[in-house]
């Protein structure tokens, strides 16, 4: 069996696990919130092109995306290790990276599947069909697509490293990215939110303001690679909690 077959199998089980009815509905509702806001704006005053960047940045990049990625990313591996189902993967003759990679891909893919359409719809509803606004919307959608995988990789890695991955992930998103990054410029180098802004800036030819700018894509790729390698190493040293 090739590593690809292993990853397809692990990915298939992970997708089935993540697409539980309640979780899927909740995440769809969360991802739908910006669309609902866009509809309300349309019904009220028509489009608001000047508010487009703020809506996409505050609602999608700073709120919906990290929350959806946190739920999928932490459930993909951390929940399995906590509830004991993970032992069925750990006791198979497969390299640990072949467990981590599909979990990152599936949780990132599901995050993108929900949040990218939400970004596009909210962008069109709020910004209208002007070419500049469409360009910004598409740029955010592309950045959100990549950002979903970066967040998911981080949250999968947290799940491999600690049983408190969900709490630490939430703290990272709210405290580090929300508060510290706003106050201390240096911390933005370690903020996925800033990478997304940077990627949106690159894709929109500078229409979106960003601190990291053109370094965003390499930083995002580097982050995914490093945290996936870290998660694989942690999983290789993972010790089951013994009940006796």
């Amino acid at each position: 069996m090739t590593s690809l077959d292993v990853m397809v199998t692990v990915g298939w089980v992970t997708a089935r696990a993540l697409l539980g009815r309640r979780r899927t509905i909740l995440m769809a509702l969360l991802a739908g919130a910006p669309v609902v806001l866009g509809i309300l704006i349309r019904l009220g005053n028509g489009t608001r092109p000047s508010a487009l960047q703020n809506v996409l940045d505050v609602l999608i990049v700073s709120s919906v995306l990290p929350l959806v990625a946190l739920v999928f990313g932490s459930a993909a591996l951390g929940s399995e290790l906590d509830d004991g189902t993970g032992v069925h993967l750990l006791t198979k003759p497969i390299p640990r990276w072949a467990i981590v990679v599909p979990k990152v891909l599936v949780s990132g893919g599901l995050t993108a599947l929900l949040v990218v359409p939400s970004t596009l719809l909210a962008g069109f509803l709020v910004g209208g069909s002007g070419s500049h606004q469409i360009g910004v919307t598409l740029a955010f959608a592309g950045a959100v697509l990549v950002g979903g995988f970066v967040y998911s990789a981080i949250f999968v890695a947290l799940g491999a490293a600690t049983s408190r991955g969900l709490v630490i992930g939430l703290a990272y998103s709210l405290l580090w990215e929300g508060l510290l990054s706003a106050a201390l410029a240096g911390t933005q180098l370690f903020s996925v939110r800033e990478y997304i802004r940077g990627m949106a800036s690159v894709l929109s030819n500078g229409d979106v303001e960003s601190v990291v700018g053109g370094s965003a894509f390499p930083l995002a790729a580097l982050t995914i690679g490093l945290v996936a390698a870290f998660a694989s190493a942690r999983l290789a040293r993972h010790e089951i909690r013994s009940g006796d």
């Binding site: 069996m1 692990v10 089980v13 509830d83 032992v87 750990l90 006791t91 198979k92 390299p95 006796d244």
Partner: protein, 340 residues
């Protein structure tokens, strides 16, 4: 077969008889050696969590056949099984599976199957899908046939296409066993495998374990139900408070427990006369005649079996039945645990 000494002293516990001067030295069938040939070797292994010692300086080897791992709750059984399964790192000592360290050795799972105690299975998969995933991850060439075989082995065919989330506890147990068996591993570790099974399923599973052992597999299973172990296991490991209390054949262990009298129930043509005759024998501690039942307490199992016929003949009494009353595994286990 070996017993651990009473741990009143400190320091490592060598494998030695329970009462060295009186008992014959047991053959070191489970003693660790430098060039391990047994599939499972635990060599002076300890495992602690912070200040809590879960497994304390344990050594044994297990070869082909069925070995029962006995111990009260919290004794360290699951910790020991997880160490053997490579899911825990030993704090000290060595755990070897087929001569290689179990820790961080994913390749060993080609030759080892684990049935964990926790019920956790993917509830959204059907039983067949669950076993099929195991077959796929094992890289089996004909995984469909292997899956069907494993499901049939645990008698789960009628419900194989139902989601595991709808299974009873016993069914979940069996589907975990099917997944662990799908690649037909020569080594099988089972943590409380009979939990939740009804009597018929238990008997079926016991037959299955026996047939696998007869085929040369090495099987170690933990249980807190002594009857299960007694009926299935060729040998036992008794673990208490993280230490190995005894290992080997439980009847042999009982015979080495020379600081505790053996008890026999005797029926004869004249129990009263026979009781008086026994009291003249130095090997007999005491006799009791109650409700027309004669029980005899003796210091040495084999010594009494040698003299009982002679004593009865000399007393002119006809023996109808001589049976040890406390040679059950439960008796052995109670004794080993109570002296700790």
């Amino acid at each position: 077969m070996t017993l651990a000494p009473d741990p009143s002293g400190s320091g490592p516990m060598p494998r030695m008889p329970l009462t060295p001067p009186a008992a014959p030295a047991p053959a070191p069938a489970h003693a660790p050696g430098p060039a391990p040939a047994s599939p499972l070797v635990v060599d002076r292994v300890s495992r602690w969590y912070g200040n809590v010692v879960a497994v304390n300086d344990i050594s044994f080897e297990i070869g082909a056949g069925i070995t029962g791992l006995l111990g009260p709750n919290g004794a360290g059984k699951s910790t020991l099984l997880h160490l053997l399964a490579g899911l825990l790192r030993p704090s000290s000592g060595r755990v070897l599976v087929d001569g290689r360290p179990a820790w961080r050795q994913p390749e060993m799972y080609r030759r080892l199957g684990l049935v964990p105690e926790r019920e956790a299975v993917y509830p959204f998969l059907t039983g067949r899908e669950f076993v099929d995933v195991a077959a796929r991850l094992q890289g089996l060439p004909d995984r469909r046939a292997a899956t069907a075989r494993a499901i049939a082995t645990v008698d789960l065919e009628p419900v194989a296409d139902r989601p595991v989330g709808t299974y009873s506890k016993g069914m979940r147990q069996r589907v975990k066993i099917a997944a662990a068996l799908v690649h037909e591993p020569p080594i099988l570790l089972l943590d409380e495998p009979f939990n939740g099974m009804d009597p018929r399923q238990r008997l079926h599973m016991m037959d299955l374990l026996r047939s696998m052992a007869a085929a040369g597999r090495t099987i170690l299973f933990s249980s807190h139900i002594l009857e299960e172990v007694e009926r299935v296991a060729d040998g036992i490991l008794v673990i208490h408070a993280g230490r190995l209390a005894a290992s080997g054949d439980f009847r042999e262990i009982r015979r080495l427990m020379t600081d505790r009298p053996h008890t026999f129930r005797v029926r004869s043509s004249d129990d009263r006369r026979l009781a008086a005759a026994f009291m003249t024998e130095p090997a007999v501690f005491g006799t009791e005649l109650r409700d027309d039942r004669l029980t005899v307490q003796v210091s040495e199992f084999s010594g009494f079996t040698r003299i009982v016929a002679r004593v009865a003949r000399d007393a002119g009494v006809r023996l109808l039945e001589v049976a040890p009353t406390d040679d059950s595994l439960e008796s052995v286990f109670d004794y080993l645990v109570s002296r700790r």
